[in-house]
């Protein structure tokens, strides 16, 4: 009997224990619910209070009498100096240009020359087939309250690293003055100051190739002054090392090149704007070498080169808003005088005599953005080898040419965004006398990183 009771109570206990736990659970749950409810009510009250405070604050912010205080409370949120990112906060703006080309050239680019001209620097239409164009790394920032610095590194497809630009610039001289020092693209002409990724065609105009070795950069100093007028008037002067074509390395103290330029520009109504200018570049060449790609002969020039350049650009956009449609017409005229002693075949005959030449060239191009993202452009290049006097000693080997190199190009490009561009270009290049080079290019140019600003 007792045993049965015991077992029964044991079972009741066993069963009851969870039951009582259940009961306790219920009570606890109720308590939790009550707590949650209380919390909810308290939070709701708090949120309501906060909302009221916010509304009051907004009302206050709206009121002019109190707006000064409100402005201060809404003042720019300056990053806290204790934030972990503070060490990186002064990092300069970094952007990168990635570019690649596919080229199909009828003539062998190795035999490229401009008949009647003795060019230097980078000439030629590049390589056939797929190739990487220069990748650029651009780093810039204010150095201190007085100086701004920037560096453009160009990584060539041949895996060499080049310093395209590395310059410091004053920001606080005032009175319209700005000075620059280091390596930079000269302010002469219109296109010269622009990097290749900002060009409207795959390649530089023929005149740039013939007279400036694609683009004139220099190590030196520049001073620019903008006149205090409502019409844009800018005057600039540069002195530099002058080691690049049309100059050459000289191993001398002092100045190797001089440049002067003046630009003017303004708007006409709201839809038109223009800029025009005239520039002069003086270089001294010492044993400036030129290897003729056809005959294989090396020539060298000692002398002076003086280049005159006239440029203009005119832009149009409906209502002055270029976002949807716009048109740009630009042209530049070059005239170069070279004097000195020319040595023909420096490694063989080595015949030296005086040399003088007056040569000229120009290009004209128009770019029309006919709908958002899409642009089409035409460019025509002309060169005139002019008069070249090789002297009696060299006239047996070199003779002035009457050939006039020419090229016409057509391009269409598509820019999915302001950071990317895909381009197709067809050119009919008659740089070489007697052969026409039909060229086909596909190109992409993309920029990533900091948002770049482009000059006019």
């Amino acid at each position: 009997m007792f045993r049965r009771k015991l077992i029964a109570s044991g079972i009741t206990l066993m069963l009851g224990a969870p039951l009582s736990a259940f009961a306790a659970d219920n009570a606890e749950m109720q308590q939790i619910r009550n707590e949650i409810k209380a919390m909810k009510q308290s939070y709701e009250a708090r949120i309501e209070a906060l909302e009221q405070r916010l509304q009051r604050a907004e009302a206050l912010a709206g009121k002019a009498e109190n707006s000064a205080a409100a402005a201060e409370s809404l003042a720019p949120q300056t990053p806290s100096s204790t934030s972990p990112g503070a060490a990186n906060a002064f990092n300069p703006a970094i952007s990168m240009i990635l570019s690649g080309t596919y080229a199909s050239l009828k003539q062998d680019p190795a035999s490229y020359r401009i008949t009647g001209f003795i060019p230097g620097g980078e000439t030629g239409p590049g390589t056939r087939g797929f190739s990487l164009a220069e990748s650029e790394l651009i780093v810039s920032a204010n150095i201190d309250p007085d100086f701004h610095g920037h560096l453009t590194l160009a990584v060539s497809p041949e895996n060499t690293l080049g310093v395209e630009e590395a310059a410091i610039q004053t920001t606080t001289l005032g009175h319209g003055l700005a000075a620059k020092a280091g390596r930079f693209y000269s302010g002469i002409g219109y296109l010269n100051g622009q990097h290749a990724h900002a060009w409207d065609f795959v390649d530089a105009p023929l005149a740039y190739r013939a007279f400036l070795g694609r683009q004139y950069g220099n190590d030196g100093v520049q001073l620019k002054w903008i006149a205090p007028t409502d019409t844009f008037l800018e005057f600039g002067a540069e002195v530099g090392r002058g080691s690049n074509f049309p100059g050459s390395e000289r191993n001398k103290n002092g100045v190797g090149s001089y440049a002067l330029f003046a630009h003017a520009g303004d708007d006409v109504g709201t839809e038109h704007s223009w800029r025009t200018g005239i520039s002069w570049l003086q270089n001294t060449a010492k044993a400036r070498a030129y290897d003729d790609p056809v005959s294989g002969v090396s020539n060298a020039l000692d002398g002076s080169s003086s280049l005159w350049l006239a440029d203009f650009v005119w832009k149009w956009a409906p209502n002055g808003n270029p976002a949807y449609r716009n048109f740009k017409l630009q042209g530049e005229y070059f005239r170069r005088l070279e004097n000195g002693d020319l040595t023909f075949d420096t490694t063989g005959i080595a015949s030296t005599d005086r040399y003088s030449a007056t040569q000229s060239g120009w290009y004209l191009q128009g770019i029309y953005q006919f709908m958002p993202h899409w642009r089409a452009g035409l460019r025509t290049d002309r060169l005139d080898s002019g008069t070249a006097d090789y002297g009696a000693g060299n006239s047996a080997y070199l003779s002035p040419s009457t050939y006039r190199p020419a090229r016409n190009s057509l391009m269409v490009d598509y820019s999915p965004s302001e950071f990317s561009r895909l381009r197709l270009q067809l050119s009919r290049d008659k740089s070489r006398e007697g052969s026409t080079d039909n060229q086909f290019f596909l190109q992409y140019i993309m920029s990533l990183g900091a948002h770049g600003a482009h000059t006019f």
């Binding site: 402005a71 005032g174 520009g265 948002h451």
Partner: protein, 302 residues
């Protein structure tokens, strides 16, 4: 004779390259709303030149020579900031040779620094379109922001031209009072707009929407600054068939084709808001800007 020729040619040169007016504070305003505000607060003590007009997208204009010349002669640059002018203003700053307007100087005024910005992106990636790290820069569509900027700009004018500080303060007080009354009037007018669902072409109106309580259901640009594609427009059209809206909003400088396309198919109104001073016939000044904005919204909401 020689003297006369010299005199005439000098006068001709002066006429062509007219010198900026001396004495007054030269203000270069990046956008017309700040130009209009500077005129309200500066009266005849300031000369204002607007770098853009209402039909120009301030993000895509170029550093034109005329702007360089104006930047060179400016005592004060009144701009939005928040990277709105990032494609051209840095060029003006660097090439103008004007120390007074460099960032950090009193002559460099950024309106967006004085208001609380919306849509500050949680992550910065160009895959998200044309995002602005410091938030949406189109702050001028909320008149309460204009009031805040006016306070700061009035102080700045007094700082740059202390001789006329009292004059600026008087003009500011008068403007602020008039503006406050106008805000009350506009808010009263706008009661029917509260909670109204709208579609926007570009994310240009978050401040207007917050102020008036508009609900932005969709944007025609799939990502900020990316032109509407036909597939995305189709999606928006499908979306608003289940979630009806009254109108599609765009700024005066934006191309209306995508808005009109949607408006026609969904039988809603395509509304081109003036967006800034000069954006419509009626938006001749800041008061006209909001009068006309509300009038256009109310007309489309009927």
């Amino acid at each position: 004779m020689l003297k006369r020729i010299l005199k005439i040619s000098l006068m001709a040169a002066l006429a062509i390259f007219s010198l900026p007016s001396l004495g007054a504070l030269n203000i270069l305003a990046c956008e017309p709303e700040w130009g209009a505000l500077a005129s309200e607060l500066g009266g005849d003590k300031v000369t204002v030149y607007n770098a853009t007009n209402a039909l120009q997208d301030p993000h895509t204009i170029q550093a034109r020579p005329s702007l360089l010349a104006r930047a060179r002669n400016a005592n004060l640059l009144a701009c939005t900031g928040a990277e709105l002018e990032t494609g051209w203003l840095p060029i003006l700053l660097r090439q103008s040779g004007n120390a007074a307007i460099q960032p950090g100087r009193p002559g460099n005024f950024e309106a967006a620094a004085y208001v609380q910005k919306l849509e500050i992106p949680a992550r910065l990636d160009r895959a998200d379109g044309d995002v602005h790290a410091s938030g949406n820069p189109h702050i001028q569509t909320d008149p309460r922001n204009i009031a805040l900027v006016a306070d700061a700009l009035a102080k700045r004018l007094s700082q740059l031209d202390p001789a006329n500080a009292a004059y600026y303060q008087t003009l500011h007080k008068a403007f602020a009072e008039k503006w406050q009354t106008a805000i009350q009037r506009w808010e009263k007018q706008a009661t029917p707009l509260r909670g109204m669902p709208v579609v926007v072409q570009h994310k240009a109106f978050p401040y207007l929407s917050r102020w008036l309580g508009l609900r932005e259901i969709a944007a025609l640009e799939p990502k900020p600054g990316v032109e509407p594609s036909s597939s995305h427009l189709g999606e928006v059209l499908a979306q608003i068939s289940s979630q009806p809206v009254k109108m599609v909003l765009r700024a005066a400088y934006q191309d209306g084709r995508s808005s009109e396309w949607l408006a026609e198919r969904a039988s809603i109104h395509a509304v081109a808001l003036p967006f800034t001073v000069g954006g419509s016939e009626q938006a001749r000044d800041l008061f006209g800007l909001f009068d006309d904005t509300l009038q256009k919204l109310l007309a489309a909401a009927k």
